[in-house]
Symmetry: C2
Subunit: 210 residues, 2 copies
């Protein structure tokens, strides 16, 4: 299936669709009408059809979408069946929390290594992995060819660590370090800004008080 260029705002809805379809499957719901999907997702039915048309429409027939098929196709578009090898750099509280985040495995990401430059942490277990010395990361990457690095390092370290990882062949960076990394050629970056969501909560709370 060859896709048209997908606008960022459409692409960003895909994980939500996927997550919602996942919930439906868990509830053993195998078929859903576009109006029901629309109601649950808070997106108009026409928006859903427009979104899905970017990917060939997913063949809605008669009384609705086939949930299993839709789930599988969106999962494939999101690259969830590629078994992407993933490493975590930074084994502090956040690194631990992310390593224990069971959804990553469920979403098809293979966590293959955790690194820290604190020698006191090296050798300890985190989830089912042993923390490795960041000094040895070049050899590890060269041998194991991971694609994705999760950065849970202090903000002062993020730029130099990211540059190092990119020079070693990492192609995707999930950055939790509160310092925005700029996109660059042949590397994809997602900067996570947790406090955006807290600010939204605060905004909604203010609106509630009005």
């Amino acid at each position: 299936m060859k896709e048209r260029k997908v606008p960022d705002v459409v692409a960003r809805r895909l994980p939500r669709y996927y997550r919602y379809l996942d919930d439906l499957l868990k509830k053993q719901i195998y078929r859903i009408s576009s109006s029901e999907l629309s109601r649950k997702m808070g997106v108009t039915a026409s928006q859903i059809r427009q979104d899905f048309n970017f990917f060939g429409g997913f063949g809605q027939q008669g009384y609705g979408y086939n949930v299993e098929m839709l789930h599988k196709e969106i999962g494939a578009i999101l690259g969830l069946y590629s078994g992407r090898k993933t490493i975590i750099v930074g084994a502090g509280y956040l690194g631990h929390a992310l390593a224990n985040h069971t959804n990553f495995k469920k979403r098809g990401f293979m966590l293959v290594g955790v690194f820290d430059n604190d020698k006191a942490k090296v050798g300890r277990k985190i989830s089912d992995l042993t923390i490795s010395d960041y000094d040895g990361i070049a050899d590890f990457i060269s041998e194991n060819q991971p694609d994705i690095a999760i950065l849970a390092v202090p903000r002062t370290a993020v730029k130099s660590v990211a540059e190092n990882l990119i020079s070693l062949g990492i192609k995707a960076i999930w950055n939790f370090s509160y310092t925005e990394l700029d996109e660059q050629e042949n590397v994809v970056i997602e900067n996570v800004h947790l406090s955006d969501s807290l600010m939204m909560l605060s905004y909604k709370l203010n609106a509630l008080d009005d």
Copy 2:
């Protein structure tokens, strides 16, 4: 300033504007043209004007926006100067990571308590607070009147903990528990889905390979 009803998609851009203006101030940049703001934010200049018009337009004059003023006004709209009292429930790795998240304080949220039901954790320090027993949370809330609860509890516990906190008077829940909580009357909820962002990274990585 009385606001028109602000669409969710506009409101969700406010934290990004705020964060970006924050960076400008750190770089001692005090004035920015709408085209420059547009370029940096990846939003059209006309979109920015439309967004700002919901809040009275922020009086762009001659050669651009006053960064300090814009920062302050958007911060006020986001409720960042209210010193909202905030508690964390769940003192595992994620709870620790969130307690140490310096941006919360910088954004005006006052962390006043951390709770866990694991007696082995009670009494330990986390950031500059001492972990309290979840059993005593009713008294704490009644005495201290926090508005916001950050939930970093296992997904199996999230619904019962949320119900309990709401019955005790908590008005806003920032939910990290991978189980979506539904909005309800007089309570605002932000469900954080970290893996959405990982799925987007995977999507962009796939597009890179094409």
